[in-house]
Symmetry: C2
Subunit: 321 residues, 2 copies
């Protein structure tokens, strides 16, 4: 054990580190060029900063300071930056633009190859509501991935309120809604189907509930929606209309996109690359989070997993040879 | 509490972050130009990696993984890099040259203004014995501080074996030696005096023990030494003779220099600047550490506290206005 790093962690040796640095410098140039100032927040935060409303994802890494306060390793940079804005930018004019290059710490399940320590590159745009703020975030995201050198990435865009609203409109009770959303968040469609089979809804409604999370595609999937889907579809059409062509061509609307971070309130993103089978990053709107830190402002942001982007880049390069 | 960072930590806002990035880039250029490849090791390590021989300083930040193993936040980068060399460079030709820009985590005592999280820039030169390896480390150290833009810094150079050898040669028993060394490490000369007063040594020896830790200066302090001091003095003279003038003019020999890291074995360094009253960094030889990780090699390294170097730079700039 003496010679090993903890499971889910690893050493980065010089050849790889040089490539990661170069990648981060290209991304940083995009972030800073778009007006995002780099910040660093402590890796350790009071547990209450991350956990106070219960809905938010906390850190599995808890420890104590010398006063007995519970500290946690940050699980993302969005919550610390919201805290920072509440205290250090309490009266600053908006919008505020911040970026970061920092590690976040996640729990891992054994044997899944998950990372305990993630190197993230991200931005937070605070004080700019949707759709304009969302358009800016998506533009910076795609410009950063372009600068990184990725050629075939796509950005899935969904709405975190879409499926819950659909469930509610069909009269699905709260407890069942939560179970179904949990299955969907973990991408378990069999589990979703199992839950839906137990609902007291018409076969047509059950079919709708099963079909909607699989809706995925370009502008065409936004047409002909009705009921609770119409509003989300209209929002996505507006967003698409505001994107520049270079960004719009990267977007895939994904009605099944959900996220396990409790703070998202509207549009959410997930970055994919066909060369690598796992998401390279994610983001979305979190219009209620800043209010918890005393500065109620709409906000949107994203985080890229730098090491995954690097793997996707190398996989793309290999596929081009 | 929700709005605050844990005591001993802070948010770094964009204006400062931009300066820290620029400072690190200048230092990185020196490290890489001298052949040091940047590495990153996990912030979390198994506790045994840091603590297995008892003498080594461990981390106050302990937590558990999902298997019940005790993890710690790294308290420096030297031990993780020694672990990495033992496993990933087990048969690589030497010398090995690594650098890093990473955070380390220290315990803090309340109300002392100490940092829980330190941004360190450092190098490790592995497989190069003293004095040649020590000369290279001191040269890279001074070149990095020059590139950072510091004008008035000095590097205190001592020998961690000097005072213990003196105590032993005068017949001071082990328990008293440890108490005296602890007082000296914490810089408490009154405590040293108090301990010396209780020793069964001659007044001349007591005077010598009190005088030696205060010896501090240029080449002149290395002359006319005898007894157990002669060997350390000769080593320091050899070192001085091998340094280029631009490095030699920065060096101050300091016979009272000790360090609370248990792994140092010979020459140790500490960086000062008259514009800022705390050490900006430290380092030294650790010729026995690599052997604990299966690759017995002499080694030397140093770590700069990037934020302290930045404060000293700004203090120097202010004093020049």
């Amino acid at each position: 054990m003496l010679d090993r790093t903890p499971s889910g962690t690893r050493d980065v040796l010089p050849d790889e580190m040089r490539e990661l640095r170069a990648l981060m410098e290209r991304v940083r140039a995009v972030f800073e060029g778009a007006g995002y100032g780099e910040v660093y927040t402590p890796a350790l935060e009071y547990e209450r900063t991350f956990a106070r409303d219960g809905a938010r994802v906390s850190s599995p890494y808890r420890l104590f300071d010398e006063h007995g306060n519970v500290l946690v390793l940050r699980s993302d940079m969005t919550v610390p930056i919201a805290r920072m804005v509440g205290s250090r930018y309490a009266t600053a004019p908006t919008p505020l633009r911040f970026c970061y290059f920092a590690h976040a710490y996640h729990g891992v399940r054994p044997q899944r190859g998950q990372s305990r320590e993630l190197l993230q590159a991200g931005v937070e745009l605070i004080g700019s509501a949707g759709p304009a703020g969302t358009v800016e975030a998506l533009t910076v995201l795609c410009d950063a991935l372009d600068a990184a050198g990725l050629e075939n990435y796509r950005v899935g865009v969904g709405d975190v309120t879409l499926y819950p609203a659909l469930l509610e409109s069909l009269g699905v009770e709260a407890a069942a809604r939560e179970r179904i959303l949990a299955e969907l968040t973990s991408g378990d469609f069999v589990g979703v189907e199992h839950e839906l089979a137990q609902l007291a809804v018409s076969p047509a409604d059950a079919e709708l509930l099963l079909r909607v999370p699989r809706i995925r595609g370009g502008a065409e999937v936004l047409e002909g929606l009705d009921g609770p889907l119409e509003q989300a579809g209209a929002g996505m059409r507006t967003l698409l209309g505001l994107l520049q062509p270079r960004t719009a061509r990267r977007v895939i609307f994904d009605f099944g996109l959900l996220h396990n971070l409790g703070y998202y309130t509207g549009a959410i993103f997930q970055v994919y690359d066909p060369a690598y089978g796992v998401p390279l990053g994610s983001g979305g709107r979190y219009d209620d989070l800043l209010g918890e830190f005393g500065r109620p402002l709409p906000a949107v942001g994203f985080a890229l997993d730098v090491e995954r982007v690097h793997i996707a880049l190398r996989a793309e390069e290999r596929s081009r040879v």
